[in-house]
Symmetry: C2
Subunit: 208 residues, 2 copies
DNA sequence: TATCAAACAGGACAACCGGTCTGTTTTTTG
DNA sequence: CAAAAAACAGACCGGTTGTCCTGTTTGATA
């Protein structure tokens, strides 16, 4: 070990970047290993930071978990579902494309880690009221966006279907499908559910 | 503290009952708190046993977890889904009744703890291959039973629908619905999904 | 430039975790 | 009925966990 040439890396003193790096590492770790199986020391090591830095930005592990849900997980749901559905031509189109896009990205990756929201929802909902509230809020935004798009679709005349209920089924089907996908490490459940869901969505348009 | 009148409870030396009690406590604890959040000491204390007894029947925590999945969780799925669906008049009838029965039992209980299979599937599938295999097997038995019932239904003429795919959607919808129910601590998502799913199931019968 | 708070570094700690070990009691076996 | 095996009791251990504490360095402020 040559010590003479080793200089300590200077501190960057960029609190925003530090906080972002912690959230990056934490959200990735929580998704792949889960909240309880990830220790604060794991996060410190993977992020290359010390306990002081972690404690400064997130005094407790719980506060870090809440920040991951409110900032990273919410943003992920927005990118994968909320924005695509809003921009889509029709609700059905946006929903089925979201399924397909996620299924494709799963095939590209080696492992199926599951939906970050669903993972934390199942693990932490009953563990803590604050976690539950944070998770519920993201689910709510997700569901209501789909419901709004369904209402906006001109092909569905008012009263024939219940957009809020149909949106709930879509979210539930996706969450369950990705849970199945995680269990059998395959994207097939996602594609299967998309196909079957498509029948209901197209059927609702002309039958109600 | 009066010690003179205290007698040590005699050992029962009933290994089957001891093993059953451990599985009772463990499966209940795993469902309400999750696998990783439940310590072996928790189980020992709640079951009123010592480390020696626990280690004798289940040398490792993992072996206990596998036994819970293979014996208790599998049995729970059989009782709540597999047997009711087999005995039902039609597949649609059995499926919707299973949703409704579970929703009712959730209302009776104070808390929504989620589906024991789904909980452990999400928490442990990526953590260990043996857990994944055990979970997948239960999912498989569940799905194939529904698919078989769908095939047996005379109202669905052959080729019009894909029973295996429809069964996957049913299981996924239920798993996701109960995840939503757990998140918002309400049985509503379950009832909503049952209603929406009913449209697809009845529609499949006469339209395909 | 002196002052002060924010932003880290890094060690320490009590509690806890899963697993092991030795010993004792009961049942089963030969 | 002796011997062996099974079924426990209960203490113990090394490693890990989340959190806290004391410094030190930097940027903001006045």
């Amino acid at each position: 070990m040559v010590m003479g040439s080793m200089r300590k890396a200077k501190r960057s003193y960029d609190p925003a970047a530090m906080r972002a790096r912690i959230l990056d590492v934490a959200s990735a770790a929580f998704q792949s290993r889960g909240y309880h199986s990830t220790s604060t020391h794991d996060i410190m090591r993977e992020a290359g930071i010390t306990g002081g830095a972690l404690h400064h930005h997130f005094p407790t592990k719980k506060s870090l978990g809440l920040a991951v849900i409110n900032e990273r997980v919410a943003a992920a749901v927005e990118e994968a579902w909320i924005n695509p559905v809003r921009r889509a031509r029709t609700a059905t189109d946006g929903i089925l494309r979201a399924f397909e896009n996620i299924a494709e990205s799963l095939d590209k990756q080696g492992k199926v880690l599951g939906c970050p929201l669903n993972n934390l929802a199942v693990e932490l909902s009953t563990a803590d009221p604050e976690f539950q509230a944070a998770v519920t809020q993201v689910f709510q935004a997700w569901t209501s966006t789909i419901a709004e798009k369904l209402k906006a679709d001109k092909s569905q005349f008012a009263g024939r279907i219940k957009p809020d209920e149909l949106a709930t089924l879509v979210v539930a089907s996706y969450s369950g499908a990705i849970a199945l996908a995680k269990a059998q490490q395959s994207s097939e459940p996602l594609r299967i559910c998309a196909r079957q869901l498509g029948k209901l969505l197209s059927g609702s348009a002309d039958r109600g």
